[in-house]
Assembly symmetry: C2
Homo-oligomer: 232 residues x 2
Protein backbone atom coordinates (compact mmCIF):
# COMPACT_ATOMS: atom_id res chain seq x y z
CA UNK A 1 0.00 0.00 0.00
CA UNK A 2 1.18 3.51 -0.79
CA UNK A 3 0.27 6.33 1.58
CA UNK A 4 -0.22 10.00 0.76
CA UNK A 5 0.14 12.60 3.52
CA UNK A 6 -3.18 14.28 4.34
CA UNK A 7 -1.59 16.80 6.70
CA UNK A 8 1.63 18.05 8.21
CA UNK A 9 2.41 18.80 11.86
CA UNK A 10 3.65 22.15 13.13
CA UNK A 11 5.05 21.69 16.63
CA UNK A 12 7.70 23.22 18.92
CA UNK A 13 9.75 20.01 18.71
CA UNK A 14 12.41 20.62 16.08
CA UNK A 15 14.52 17.56 16.86
CA UNK A 16 13.85 14.09 18.22
CA UNK A 17 15.74 14.64 21.46
CA UNK A 18 13.41 15.88 24.20
CA UNK A 19 10.15 14.66 22.70
CA UNK A 20 8.09 12.84 25.33
CA UNK A 21 7.89 9.16 24.53
CA UNK A 22 4.10 9.01 24.54
CA UNK A 23 1.39 11.54 23.76
CA UNK A 24 -0.45 13.22 26.58
CA UNK A 25 2.60 13.39 28.86
CA UNK A 26 3.03 17.06 28.11
CA UNK A 27 -0.36 18.72 28.01
CA UNK A 28 1.46 22.04 27.54
CA UNK A 29 2.48 21.19 23.98
CA UNK A 30 0.23 23.06 21.59
CA UNK A 31 0.61 22.03 17.97
CA UNK A 32 -1.33 22.26 14.73
CA UNK A 33 -2.03 19.94 11.83
CA UNK A 34 -2.22 21.70 8.50
CA UNK A 35 -4.38 19.78 6.04
CA UNK A 36 -2.61 19.40 2.71
CA UNK A 37 -4.29 19.80 -0.70
CA UNK A 38 -6.68 18.37 -1.83
CA UNK A 39 -7.79 17.70 1.78
CA UNK A 40 -7.53 21.33 2.93
CA UNK A 41 -11.24 21.99 2.99
CA UNK A 42 -13.45 22.57 5.97
CA UNK A 43 -15.86 19.84 4.90
CA UNK A 44 -13.16 17.19 5.52
CA UNK A 45 -13.40 17.83 9.28
CA UNK A 46 -17.10 18.69 9.54
CA UNK A 47 -18.60 17.04 12.65
CA UNK A 48 -15.25 16.78 14.40
CA UNK A 49 -16.21 19.59 16.78
CA UNK A 50 -18.19 17.10 18.90
CA UNK A 51 -15.07 15.06 19.65
CA UNK A 52 -12.54 15.94 22.35
CA UNK A 53 -9.70 13.71 21.13
CA UNK A 54 -8.25 12.50 17.84
CA UNK A 55 -6.15 9.62 16.67
CA UNK A 56 -3.27 10.49 14.41
CA UNK A 57 -1.57 7.88 12.27
CA UNK A 58 1.67 9.48 11.19
CA UNK A 59 5.09 8.73 9.77
CA UNK A 60 8.30 8.58 11.79
CA UNK A 61 9.93 10.65 9.08
CA UNK A 62 13.28 11.47 10.70
CA UNK A 63 14.20 7.85 11.36
CA UNK A 64 16.79 5.87 9.36
CA UNK A 65 15.39 2.95 7.33
CA UNK A 66 14.49 -0.14 9.38
CA UNK A 67 17.51 -2.37 9.93
CA UNK A 68 15.39 -5.52 9.87
CA UNK A 69 15.91 -6.19 13.57
CA UNK A 70 12.82 -7.75 15.14
CA UNK A 71 13.74 -6.60 18.64
CA UNK A 72 14.26 -3.19 20.22
CA UNK A 73 15.55 -1.91 23.58
CA UNK A 74 12.82 0.23 25.12
CA UNK A 75 13.95 3.09 27.39
CA UNK A 76 11.35 1.91 29.91
CA UNK A 77 13.45 -1.19 30.53
CA UNK A 78 16.60 0.86 31.02
CA UNK A 79 17.70 0.54 27.40
CA UNK A 80 19.58 -2.72 27.93
CA UNK A 81 16.85 -5.34 27.59
CA UNK A 82 15.38 -6.43 24.28
CA UNK A 83 11.70 -6.98 23.51
CA UNK A 84 9.93 -7.73 20.25
CA UNK A 85 9.30 -4.77 17.98
CA UNK A 86 5.55 -5.51 18.12
CA UNK A 87 5.66 -5.40 21.95
CA UNK A 88 6.98 -1.84 21.78
CA UNK A 89 5.97 1.57 20.50
CA UNK A 90 9.54 2.18 19.33
CA UNK A 91 10.06 4.30 16.23
CA UNK A 92 12.31 1.57 14.78
CA UNK A 93 9.74 -0.76 13.22
CA UNK A 94 9.06 -2.48 9.91
CA UNK A 95 6.51 0.12 8.79
CA UNK A 96 7.50 3.42 10.43
CA UNK A 97 3.95 4.36 11.47
CA UNK A 98 3.22 6.18 14.71
CA UNK A 99 -0.08 6.32 16.58
CA UNK A 100 -1.03 9.08 19.02
CA UNK A 101 -4.19 10.16 20.79
CA UNK A 102 -4.17 13.94 21.15
CA UNK A 103 -6.55 16.56 22.50
CA UNK A 104 -8.58 18.24 19.76
CA UNK A 105 -8.98 21.93 20.53
CA UNK A 106 -10.71 23.09 17.36
CA UNK A 107 -10.02 24.04 13.79
CA UNK A 108 -9.55 27.32 12.02
CA UNK A 109 -9.48 28.45 8.44
CA UNK A 110 -7.04 31.16 7.42
CA UNK A 111 -5.59 32.15 4.06
CA UNK A 112 -6.86 29.02 2.34
CA UNK A 113 -5.45 26.79 5.05
CA UNK A 114 -7.36 24.47 7.37
CA UNK A 115 -5.56 24.05 10.69
CA UNK A 116 -6.48 21.56 13.42
CA UNK A 117 -5.36 22.75 16.82
CA UNK A 118 -4.20 19.94 19.09
CA UNK A 119 -2.54 19.49 22.49
CA UNK A 120 -0.36 16.85 24.08
CA UNK A 121 1.30 15.80 20.84
CA UNK A 122 4.61 13.90 20.96
CA UNK A 123 5.30 14.87 17.37
CA UNK A 124 8.29 16.29 15.58
CA UNK A 125 7.73 19.46 13.58
CA UNK A 126 7.14 18.49 9.95
CA UNK A 127 5.70 15.05 10.72
CA UNK A 128 3.54 13.76 7.85
CA UNK A 129 0.05 12.71 8.95
CA UNK A 130 -1.53 9.86 7.01
CA UNK A 131 -4.86 9.61 8.78
CA UNK A 132 -6.97 11.48 11.31
CA UNK A 133 -9.76 9.61 13.07
CA UNK A 134 -12.10 10.60 15.89
CA UNK A 135 -11.37 8.99 19.27
CA UNK A 136 -14.35 6.79 20.18
CA UNK A 137 -14.35 6.30 23.95
CA UNK A 138 -16.67 3.26 23.86
CA UNK A 139 -14.29 1.38 21.56
CA UNK A 140 -10.89 2.93 22.30
CA UNK A 141 -10.84 3.60 26.05
CA UNK A 142 -9.90 0.44 27.92
CA UNK A 143 -8.70 1.72 31.29
CA UNK A 144 -8.47 -1.79 32.76
CA UNK A 145 -6.02 -2.93 30.05
CA UNK A 146 -2.73 -4.36 31.28
CA UNK A 147 0.23 -2.41 29.96
CA UNK A 148 3.02 -4.94 30.49
CA UNK A 149 6.40 -3.33 31.14
CA UNK A 150 4.92 0.11 30.39
CA UNK A 151 1.82 -0.17 32.57
CA UNK A 152 2.13 3.27 34.15
CA UNK A 153 3.03 6.71 32.90
CA UNK A 154 6.67 7.61 33.43
CA UNK A 155 7.07 9.74 36.56
CA UNK A 156 8.80 13.11 36.40
CA UNK A 157 12.46 12.40 37.13
CA UNK A 158 13.99 15.82 37.68
CA UNK A 159 13.02 19.07 39.32
CA UNK A 160 13.67 22.04 37.04
CA UNK A 161 15.10 25.44 37.91
CA UNK A 162 16.29 28.40 35.81
CA UNK A 163 19.43 30.49 36.20
CA UNK A 164 18.64 34.17 36.76
CA UNK A 165 19.68 34.99 33.19
CA UNK A 166 17.70 32.10 31.66
CA UNK A 167 14.70 33.06 33.74
CA UNK A 168 14.65 36.62 32.35
CA UNK A 169 15.26 35.41 28.80
CA UNK A 170 12.42 32.92 29.07
CA UNK A 171 9.98 35.65 30.09
CA UNK A 172 11.03 37.79 27.08
CA UNK A 173 10.83 34.91 24.61
CA UNK A 174 7.51 33.64 25.91
CA UNK A 175 5.61 36.56 24.44
CA UNK A 176 5.94 35.00 20.98
CA UNK A 177 6.21 31.36 22.04
CA UNK A 178 3.21 30.59 24.21
CA UNK A 179 3.76 28.49 27.33
CA UNK A 180 7.50 28.30 26.71
CA UNK A 181 8.34 28.03 30.40
CA UNK A 182 5.81 25.30 31.10
CA UNK A 183 7.03 23.43 28.03
CA UNK A 184 10.70 23.57 29.09
CA UNK A 185 9.83 22.42 32.60
CA UNK A 186 7.68 19.56 31.37
CA UNK A 187 10.29 18.36 28.85
CA UNK A 188 13.23 18.45 31.26
CA UNK A 189 11.26 16.96 34.19
CA UNK A 190 10.88 13.74 32.16
CA UNK A 191 14.69 13.60 31.86
CA UNK A 192 15.20 13.18 28.12
CA UNK A 193 18.82 12.07 28.52
CA UNK A 194 19.64 8.65 27.05
CA UNK A 195 19.18 5.63 29.33
CA UNK A 196 22.90 5.19 30.08
CA UNK A 197 23.77 8.45 31.71
CA UNK A 198 27.01 7.81 33.55
CA UNK A 199 28.06 10.51 35.92
CA UNK A 200 28.66 13.54 33.75
CA UNK A 201 27.94 16.26 36.26
CA UNK A 202 29.41 19.12 34.29
CA UNK A 203 27.95 18.19 30.93
CA UNK A 204 25.76 20.80 29.26
CA UNK A 205 22.81 19.35 27.32
CA UNK A 206 20.91 21.17 24.62
CA UNK A 207 17.30 20.70 23.58
CA UNK A 208 15.71 22.50 20.67
CA UNK A 209 12.22 23.93 21.26
CA UNK A 210 10.68 26.25 18.70
CA UNK A 211 13.64 28.19 17.24
CA UNK A 212 15.46 28.07 20.57
CA UNK A 213 18.53 26.27 21.84
CA UNK A 214 17.77 25.55 25.50
CA UNK A 215 20.93 24.58 27.45
CA UNK A 216 20.77 22.79 30.79
CA UNK A 217 22.85 20.85 33.29
CA UNK A 218 21.95 18.20 35.82
CA UNK A 219 23.09 18.18 39.45
CA UNK A 220 21.73 15.31 41.49
CA UNK A 221 18.01 15.15 40.58
CA UNK A 222 17.75 18.78 39.51
CA UNK A 223 17.98 20.20 35.98
CA UNK A 224 19.11 23.82 35.75
CA UNK A 225 18.38 25.79 32.59
CA UNK A 226 21.53 27.86 32.04
CA UNK A 227 20.96 29.66 28.72
CA UNK A 228 18.23 30.06 26.09
CA UNK A 229 19.39 31.29 22.70
CA UNK A 230 17.69 31.81 19.36
CA UNK A 231 19.19 29.62 16.63
CA UNK A 232 20.57 31.73 13.83
CA UNK B 1 5.40 5.94 2.15
CA UNK B 2 5.08 2.34 1.06
CA UNK B 3 3.78 -0.23 3.52
CA UNK B 4 4.57 -3.93 3.68
CA UNK B 5 2.15 -6.30 5.45
CA UNK B 6 3.63 -7.77 8.63
CA UNK B 7 0.71 -10.11 9.18
CA UNK B 8 -2.59 -11.38 7.85
CA UNK B 9 -5.89 -11.84 9.70
CA UNK B 10 -7.79 -15.12 9.87
CA UNK B 11 -11.33 -14.42 11.05
CA UNK B 12 -14.85 -15.86 10.68
CA UNK B 13 -15.92 -12.75 8.72
CA UNK B 14 -15.69 -13.72 5.05
CA UNK B 15 -17.56 -10.70 3.71
CA UNK B 16 -18.00 -7.09 4.79
CA UNK B 17 -21.73 -7.46 5.51
CA UNK B 18 -22.29 -8.35 9.15
CA UNK B 19 -18.99 -7.11 10.53
CA UNK B 20 -19.57 -5.00 13.63
CA UNK B 21 -18.69 -1.40 12.97
CA UNK B 22 -16.20 -1.06 15.78
CA UNK B 23 -13.94 -3.54 17.55
CA UNK B 24 -14.93 -4.91 20.92
CA UNK B 25 -18.66 -5.01 20.11
CA UNK B 26 -18.51 -8.73 19.64
CA UNK B 27 -16.27 -10.26 22.27
CA UNK B 28 -17.25 -13.67 20.88
CA UNK B 29 -15.19 -13.17 17.73
CA UNK B 30 -11.98 -15.16 18.03
CA UNK B 31 -9.45 -14.46 15.29
CA UNK B 32 -5.75 -14.87 14.68
CA UNK B 33 -3.01 -12.79 13.12
CA UNK B 34 -0.44 -14.82 11.26
CA UNK B 35 2.91 -13.03 11.11
CA UNK B 36 4.30 -13.01 7.58
CA UNK B 37 7.95 -13.63 6.67
CA UNK B 38 10.42 -12.23 7.62
CA UNK B 39 8.46 -11.20 10.74
CA UNK B 40 7.26 -14.73 11.60
CA UNK B 41 9.62 -15.23 14.51
CA UNK B 42 8.77 -15.47 18.18
CA UNK B 43 11.27 -12.73 19.05
CA UNK B 44 9.15 -10.16 17.17
CA UNK B 45 6.44 -10.47 19.86
CA UNK B 46 8.63 -11.15 22.91
CA UNK B 47 7.34 -9.18 25.90
CA UNK B 48 3.83 -8.91 24.49
CA UNK B 49 2.54 -11.47 27.01
CA UNK B 50 2.33 -8.71 29.66
CA UNK B 51 -0.20 -6.74 27.61
CA UNK B 52 -3.92 -7.48 27.53
CA UNK B 53 -4.78 -5.49 24.39
CA UNK B 54 -3.20 -4.63 21.07
CA UNK B 55 -3.56 -1.95 18.46
CA UNK B 56 -3.77 -3.12 14.91
CA UNK B 57 -3.16 -0.77 12.00
CA UNK B 58 -4.53 -2.60 8.99
CA UNK B 59 -5.66 -2.11 5.43
CA UNK B 60 -9.28 -1.90 4.29
CA UNK B 61 -8.39 -4.28 1.48
CA UNK B 62 -11.83 -5.08 0.10
CA UNK B 63 -12.78 -1.45 -0.51
CA UNK B 64 -12.88 0.24 -3.94
CA UNK B 65 -10.31 3.04 -4.46
CA UNK B 66 -11.15 6.31 -2.71
CA UNK B 67 -13.46 8.47 -4.82
CA UNK B 68 -11.91 11.67 -3.54
CA UNK B 69 -15.01 12.64 -1.59
CA UNK B 70 -14.11 14.47 1.62
CA UNK B 71 -17.41 13.59 3.29
CA UNK B 72 -19.09 10.31 4.25
CA UNK B 73 -22.51 9.27 5.55
CA UNK B 74 -21.98 7.39 8.80
CA UNK B 75 -24.55 4.68 9.65
CA UNK B 76 -24.73 6.17 13.15
CA UNK B 77 -26.44 9.23 11.70
CA UNK B 78 -28.95 7.10 9.83
CA UNK B 79 -26.92 7.06 6.62
CA UNK B 80 -28.42 10.28 5.26
CA UNK B 81 -26.27 12.97 6.87
CA UNK B 82 -22.75 13.84 5.75
CA UNK B 83 -19.74 14.47 7.98
CA UNK B 84 -16.08 15.01 7.14
CA UNK B 85 -14.08 11.89 6.38
CA UNK B 86 -11.71 12.79 9.25
CA UNK B 87 -14.66 13.00 11.66
CA UNK B 88 -15.56 9.40 10.86
CA UNK B 89 -14.07 5.93 11.09
CA UNK B 90 -15.54 5.08 7.69
CA UNK B 91 -13.63 2.67 5.47
CA UNK B 92 -13.89 5.17 2.59
CA UNK B 93 -10.92 7.45 3.32
CA UNK B 94 -7.90 8.92 1.52
CA UNK B 95 -5.49 6.33 2.95
CA UNK B 96 -7.52 3.15 3.56
CA UNK B 97 -6.03 2.43 7.00
CA UNK B 98 -8.08 0.93 9.82
CA UNK B 99 -7.34 1.10 13.53
CA UNK B 100 -8.67 -1.40 16.07
CA UNK B 101 -7.98 -2.20 19.71
CA UNK B 102 -8.41 -5.93 20.26
CA UNK B 103 -7.98 -8.33 23.17
CA UNK B 104 -4.65 -10.15 23.06
CA UNK B 105 -5.13 -13.74 24.19
CA UNK B 106 -1.63 -15.09 23.54
CA UNK B 107 0.58 -16.38 20.78
CA UNK B 108 1.47 -19.81 19.56
CA UNK B 109 4.09 -21.26 17.28
CA UNK B 110 3.17 -24.13 15.04
CA UNK B 111 4.70 -25.48 11.83
CA UNK B 112 6.97 -22.47 11.39
CA UNK B 113 4.08 -20.07 11.89
CA UNK B 114 3.69 -17.48 14.64
CA UNK B 115 0.01 -16.84 15.40
CA UNK B 116 -1.34 -14.09 17.66
CA UNK B 117 -4.71 -15.04 19.12
CA UNK B 118 -7.08 -12.08 19.47
CA UNK B 119 -10.71 -11.41 20.39
CA UNK B 120 -13.22 -8.72 19.55
CA UNK B 121 -11.83 -8.03 16.09
CA UNK B 122 -14.01 -6.25 13.52
CA UNK B 123 -11.80 -7.58 10.74
CA UNK B 124 -12.45 -9.26 7.45
CA UNK B 125 -10.70 -12.57 6.84
CA UNK B 126 -7.52 -11.90 4.86
CA UNK B 127 -7.04 -8.34 6.13
CA UNK B 128 -3.40 -7.21 5.79
CA UNK B 129 -1.90 -5.94 9.05
CA UNK B 130 0.72 -3.19 8.73
CA UNK B 131 1.56 -2.67 12.37
CA UNK B 132 0.96 -4.23 15.77
CA UNK B 133 1.52 -2.10 18.85
CA UNK B 134 0.88 -2.75 22.53
CA UNK B 135 -2.09 -0.88 24.04
CA UNK B 136 -0.75 1.50 26.70
CA UNK B 137 -3.58 2.32 29.10
CA UNK B 138 -1.87 5.41 30.53
CA UNK B 139 -1.61 6.99 27.07
CA UNK B 140 -4.45 5.39 25.11
CA UNK B 141 -7.35 5.05 27.58
CA UNK B 142 -9.26 8.32 27.80
CA UNK B 143 -12.65 7.27 29.19
CA UNK B 144 -13.76 10.89 29.65
CA UNK B 145 -13.25 11.70 25.97
CA UNK B 146 -16.28 13.10 24.15
CA UNK B 147 -17.30 10.93 21.23
CA UNK B 148 -19.42 13.36 19.23
CA UNK B 149 -22.20 11.70 17.26
CA UNK B 150 -20.79 8.26 18.19
CA UNK B 151 -20.41 8.85 21.91
CA UNK B 152 -21.98 5.55 23.00
CA UNK B 153 -21.74 1.98 21.81
CA UNK B 154 -24.58 0.97 19.50
CA UNK B 155 -27.28 -0.90 21.41
CA UNK B 156 -28.42 -4.34 20.31
CA UNK B 157 -31.36 -3.77 17.97
CA UNK B 158 -32.88 -7.20 17.50
CA UNK B 159 -33.61 -10.25 19.58
CA UNK B 160 -32.41 -13.43 17.87
CA UNK B 161 -34.14 -16.83 17.66
CA UNK B 162 -33.42 -20.00 15.66
CA UNK B 163 -35.86 -22.19 13.73
CA UNK B 164 -35.87 -25.76 15.02
CA UNK B 165 -33.86 -26.94 11.98
CA UNK B 166 -31.33 -24.10 12.23
CA UNK B 167 -30.98 -24.76 15.93
CA UNK B 168 -30.02 -28.42 15.38
CA UNK B 169 -27.70 -27.54 12.51
CA UNK B 170 -25.95 -24.91 14.59
CA UNK B 171 -25.23 -27.44 17.34
CA UNK B 172 -23.71 -29.85 14.80
CA UNK B 173 -21.61 -27.19 13.08
CA UNK B 174 -20.38 -25.67 16.31
CA UNK B 175 -18.10 -28.63 17.05
CA UNK B 176 -15.66 -27.36 14.41
CA UNK B 177 -16.51 -23.65 14.58
CA UNK B 178 -16.16 -22.55 18.16
CA UNK B 179 -18.81 -20.23 19.59
CA UNK B 180 -20.78 -20.26 16.36
CA UNK B 181 -24.11 -19.74 18.10
CA UNK B 182 -22.88 -16.84 20.23
CA UNK B 183 -21.31 -15.28 17.15
CA UNK B 184 -24.51 -15.52 15.08
CA UNK B 185 -26.55 -14.03 17.91
CA UNK B 186 -24.11 -11.18 18.47
CA UNK B 187 -23.88 -10.30 14.77
CA UNK B 188 -27.63 -10.33 14.12
CA UNK B 189 -28.50 -8.52 17.38
CA UNK B 190 -26.62 -5.46 16.05
CA UNK B 191 -28.88 -5.53 12.98
CA UNK B 192 -26.37 -5.44 10.12
CA UNK B 193 -29.00 -4.44 7.55
CA UNK B 194 -28.34 -1.19 5.68
CA UNK B 195 -29.64 2.00 7.24
CA UNK B 196 -32.66 2.32 4.93
CA UNK B 197 -34.57 -0.86 5.58
CA UNK B 198 -38.05 -0.23 4.33
CA UNK B 199 -40.65 -2.79 5.31
CA UNK B 200 -39.50 -6.00 3.68
CA UNK B 201 -41.03 -8.48 6.09
CA UNK B 202 -40.57 -11.54 3.95
CA UNK B 203 -37.06 -10.81 2.78
CA UNK B 204 -34.41 -13.43 3.57
CA UNK B 205 -30.99 -11.99 4.41
CA UNK B 206 -27.74 -13.94 4.27
CA UNK B 207 -24.58 -13.40 6.25
CA UNK B 208 -21.39 -15.36 5.71
CA UNK B 209 -19.62 -16.56 8.85
CA UNK B 210 -16.73 -19.03 8.55
CA UNK B 211 -17.64 -21.22 5.56
CA UNK B 212 -21.34 -20.89 6.34
CA UNK B 213 -24.27 -19.17 4.70
CA UNK B 214 -26.53 -18.09 7.57
CA UNK B 215 -30.01 -17.11 6.38
CA UNK B 216 -32.39 -15.05 8.51
CA UNK B 217 -35.57 -13.02 8.40
CA UNK B 218 -36.80 -10.11 10.48
CA UNK B 219 -40.29 -9.84 11.99
CA UNK B 220 -40.85 -6.75 14.09
CA UNK B 221 -37.70 -6.48 16.29
CA UNK B 222 -36.84 -10.17 16.11
CA UNK B 223 -34.38 -11.89 13.76
CA UNK B 224 -35.09 -15.57 13.09
CA UNK B 225 -32.28 -17.77 11.75
CA UNK B 226 -33.99 -20.02 9.21
CA UNK B 227 -31.17 -22.06 7.64
CA UNK B 228 -27.42 -22.56 8.01
CA UNK B 229 -25.64 -24.13 5.04
CA UNK B 230 -22.04 -24.85 4.20
CA UNK B 231 -20.89 -22.97 1.09
CA UNK B 232 -19.77 -25.39 -1.57
Amino acid sequence: MKLTPVGIVHSPFREKFGIPRQPGLIAEVAATIELLPPFNREEAVRGLEGFSHLWLIFGFHAIPPHTGSLTVRPPRLGGNQRVGVFASRSTHRPNPLGLSAVVFVGFEQAAGKVLLKIQGADLLDGTPVYDIKPYLPYADAIPAALGGFADRAPEPQLSVVFSAAADRRCTELETERPQLRALIIAVLALDPRPAFKGEEHERVYGVRLFDLDVRWQVHERCAQVVTIKIFT
